[in-house]
């Protein structure tokens, strides 16, 4: 610091600044102003105080981050520890027997859940992917234009946004009014599957849209330059490139269906028998948890079923992470 041309009068001000700041004191700065109003030690430790505040604040933030993990471990841990006491291959393979203590296992509820997943995903995927392809590949150029088609496109976008915000019990009410009552499907896999498909449609559309947007423009241009039609480009180039993203969306909606209760509570009936056709009612695993907890108070069995649900969600999240890593890896190279 000796080669720094500090004027002589500054040295007196530098004395009240923390040593690390002293070289930065500018000549003529009224450093003494605060020194008069606040005690000397406050003035001296301004930087130290700011660092102390930061430390305290960061400690609180670390604790919040920790709290998130602790809450998760608490919920998952409690349910899993209680659940594993009941869980056994037998529990998974025997059908529920009803009764006040919730006798029996959960085999039929697993089958019903699988049927329902296949039904909803089977119905919603073609529609959702088709919708997303249109919105991204065909409708992008229509923005700002007038006429019927741009109007339809913007109303379709509004539809997706709205559907994504609709609470699931409303899908249930709708399914109850239209499929169960008006179309006479009754409380059945079919009614529940159709209502569930409406629920996951926006999920699939949104994730597919995102996946399609991530496909570089040059892929499309290269294909179109070879003389293909737009559909050939979409089918042969864009969709394969976006496939991992689309699969991610589908798996995400599988998770939604597995954990959904409200929609199926009012459309599926709740019978614990094995479903024999599209028109028979049933009970998903999540619904079974609800009935066990509310009607029979068989909490251990409910937790065992809940454990299976949590395990499937963990599996689903792992698969999603795998696919989204692959997507970034593929498009990055």
């Amino acid at each position: 610091m000796t080669d720094n041309p500090i004027p002589a009068d500054v040295t007196t001000q530098a004395a009240v600044l923390p040593p690390r700041l002293a070289p930065f004191a500018r000549p003529g700065e009224p450093a003494a102003r605060t020194a008069q109003s606040s005690p000397r030690w406050v003035q001296q430790s301004n930087l130290a105080r700011r660092h102390l505040t930061q430390r305290l604040a960061f400690a609180v933030l670390w604790l919040t981050g920790l709290a998130v993990v602790v809450v998760l471990l608490l919920v998952v841990g409690y349910v899993a520890v209680q659940g594993f006491q009941v869980l056994s291959p037998d529990f998974l393979l025997t059908p529920p027997a009803g009764g006040l203590s919730g006798e029996g296992g959960i085999s039929t509820t697993i089958v019903t859940t699988l049927y329902l997943v296949l039904l909803t995903v089977g119905l919603a995927t073609p529609l959702g992917v088709g919708a997303a392809v249109y919105l991204v590949e065909y409708a992008e150029g229509l923005a700002g234009q007038r006429g019927l088609l741009p109007y339809l496109v913007s109303s379709a976008r509004f539809g997706v946004e709205t559907l994504a915000g609709v609470p699931s019990i409303i899908f249930g009410l709708f399914g109850y009014a239209l499929f169960v009552s008006a179309l006479h499907f009754g409380f059945s896999l079919l009614s529940a599957g159709l209502a569930g498909a409406c629920l996951i449609l926006p999920v699939i559309i949104r994730t597919t849209e995102e996946a399609l947007r991530a496909v570089p423009r040059s892929y499309r241009e290269g294909s179109l330059a070879l003389g293909t039609t737009q559909w050939q480009t979409v089918w042969g180039v864009v969709l394969p490139a976006a496939l991992p993203g689309i699969i991610t969306g589908v798996i995400l909606s599988v998770g939604r269906v597995i954990s959904e209760t409200a929609v199926f509570y009012v459309t599926l009936g709740g019978s614990y028998q094995m479903p024999t056709s599209l028109l028979s009612g049933g009970r998903t695993m999540a619904l079974h948890v609800y009935y066990l907890a509310m009607d029979t108070r068989a909490f251990e069995k409910a937790m065992a079923t809940g454990t299976i649900l949590i395990l499937s969600i963990i599996l689903i999240n792992a698969v999603i992470n795998f696919f989204s890593h692959r997507l970034t890896a593929r498009l990055g190279s």
């Binding site: 604040a57 609470p167 209760t261 649900l309």
Partner: protein
């Protein structure tokens, strides 16, 4: 040659058709819930439906005010309890978590989002309700606004955390660099530069969390007690209102739809319409806030 052009044309219309299903479903939902709610609105009258505090289907009394109050109270409770943690978590993840810690907390948030609501409800029933019941207040059953708010706070945490984190990450680097270059600490930068710049995104995150809270059904039925009463203090201490039982709009539909007929059933659809309008208001508010961010 003509075949592939015909194919192209055909697919274009087919895809347009599937794009339009979303708006068709929205229309169908609106149409069917309104049509089914029609008789109740006609017979009871919109005003008595919205302002009546008594819900006794057996005596043809259908007032939704207690349920509206229940839904709003529990949402406020969830926001008060959940938002500090959610925002803290978002700042932590976006600004100060080292990559390794982030790799632990991120999946935790994802898993919290994925856990089925019945499992939260079950946890609430088995763990929270007995704990809350220990509070020595007469008529305290443990089921009520407090238990429901705690459960709901955990359930909205992933929504709020994710959106708020995105908003914080979207703040341009230059803003932070400018602040740091002026000599402020990282924390001062977060408080006086980053968070104000991400303000609208954070507000949107909270509003969307409210939407999520208003729409939650099964977990609420399991822990809120479902009594149709206006939330009220249990004794002379006004704070005991948090121990009051209540019923949400969503719960009202789910609990009674299975055995409801006639006007009663129609009144439940009217409950759905009220809920739908409430959520639409909340969501369009969020959309408005997000849109204002991008000039």
């Amino acid at each position: 040659m003509p075949l592939r052009y015909a194919m192209d044309r055909g697919m274009r219309y087919l895809l347009l058709g599937s794009a339009l299903t979303s708006i068709l479903i929205v229309f169908a939902i609106g149409l069917f819930t309104l049509r089914e709610a029609g008789p109740a609105i006609q017979q009871i009258g919109l005003e008595r439906l919205l302002t009546g505090a008594v819900w006794r289907p057996g005596q043809e009394q259908f007032g939704l005010l207690a349920m509206i109050a229940g839904s709003i109270c529990v949402t406020i409770g969830a926001i008060l309890l959940g938002v500090p943690f959610s925002l803290g978590g978002a700042v932590f993840l976006a600004e100060i978590a080292p990559p390794r810690v982030r790799a632990l907390v991120r999946p935790a948030v994802e898993l919290l989002a994925g856990i089925p609501s019945v499992v939260y409800g079950l946890f609430g029933m088995v763990v929270l309700v007995p704990l809350v019941q220990k509070i020595p207040v007469p008529y305290n059953t443990g089921y009520g606004l407090l238990s429901a708010s705690i459960v709901l706070a955990v359930m909205i945490l992933p929504t709020v955390t994710n959106i708020a984190e995105d908003a914080i990450r979207a703040v341009p680097r230059e803003y932070k660099e400018g602040s740091l270059a002026l000599g402020s600490t990282h924390w001062q930068t977060i408080v006086s530069v980053t968070l104000p710049a991400a303000r609208s995104g954070i507000v949107a995150a909270i509003i969307l969390g409210m939407g999520r809270a208003l729409g939650e059904t099964m977990a609420m039925i399991m822990v809120i007690g479902n009594s149709v009463i206006m939330p009220q203090p249990l004794d002379h201490n006004p704070l005991t209102i948090v121990l009051s039982q209540a019923r949400t709009l969503t719960g009202n539909i789910a609990v009674e739809i299975a055995y409801a007929t006639g006007v009663h059933e129609s009144a439940l659809f009217a409950t759905g319409v009220v809920l739908f309008i409430l959520i639409m208001l909340v969501n369009s508010l969020a959309r408005l806030v997000i849109r204002r961010r991008t000039p």
